[in-house]
Amino acid sequence: MTNASTFGPAIGKIALLLLLCATTVAGFLWLPAAKGFPQPEMARIVVFHVPCAIVADIAAAVAAWYAIVYLRRRRFTDDVKSSVSFGLALLFSLLTTVTGAIFAKSQWGGYWNWDPKQTAILMLLLIYVAYFALRAAVDDPRKRASLSAAYALFAVVAVPFLTYILPNSTDQTLHPKNVINTRDGLDASYKIVLWAGVFGLSLFYFWAFRVQVALGTLELRLNERVRRASQKSVAHAVVVEARK
């Protein structure tokens, strides 16, 4: 490969890195303290927390989509895409939880409060863990793919039910509502940084997704080759017309 062709992607990656750094820096230095929170300075972490949550949802949606596609077409590449996306969803959900916990500690005094939304994300994390546990427990690749795709879809339908409706059906949540969208919520500059964060993280997600999917498909192809190579001791059928 020539220098030029590796230059392009490298530029892209550097740009992404810069963007993420910029968002981080802006989050801490440039943004004014958020009004209306008990601890305005630390509330800025929300610009990390929310994008993480949003990208986690995107990742989960992509994973669910590929699960459906796999069940229809039964092609292993779709399964790879689905599980990779789930892995990324797990990552981003973890980040969301962590940033949320930091936020919670600074605002409400404790890392974990059993706030309905916190419980909800905990369940989500458990579901992701369960997904990978299920995959690990099945040996046959085809079964593994179909079982995990089915579980993914099942969980995906169950989760919004139980995590959005439940928290919003009680009035006892500590999570501030409607902060992003209403006009007298956060400062306008927050929104810029926030959406920049979403953009940056989404790009990161896509990049990581593609890399891992490429790895996964490579592994698939390798397995295929190994299998075909062991073919020498194998069958070909001989059909003999025995009589009549």
Binding site: S230, V234, A235, H236, V240
Partner: protein, 184 residues
Amino acid sequence: MAYGSRVLFSGIDAEIAPGQCLVVTGANGAGKSSLLKILAGLLRPESGKVEFDGRRGCAAPDIHLYGELTGDENLAFFARLLGISPMLNPALLTDVGLPPKRGRDLVSTYSSGMRQRLKLAASLLGAPPLLLWDEPTATLDTAGRAIVGELLAKHLGQGGLAVVATNDPAEAESWGDLRLTIGC
């Protein structure tokens, strides 16, 4: 045709006509059972197709019947699932050489030969057009083996198809109109 991490066989292309029996032979582990399972629809091949319309009756060593039910209940259960009247079941039992009164005993009390006969009876429920038998005479005594031959002949005589996997060369010889050997 690949399954799991082993490629089992490739390049099988066969057509069977009504009244014919295809015998599948091969060394242990060559893939006879897997082939039958694919024909039954229990396993999906990675490439290739099975074209067959209609029901299949199966009997195989690793397909079991319910131990906590009696022989009669087993047959009645599957008959109902298939939408067939269970009236003909007693006749089926005698066809495979099981005395009717043993039908009222729990299958867990059966000997392995008796279970095999019950499996064959179950595979014949509703006279399916295609019979898929994997080692049908395993665990059977000489009388039992003769019965299997008769049942097969009767089925083929009625225009049915059969695919039978066996390790016994004599059976392969006498039953098979067509023969498929797997493995080298």
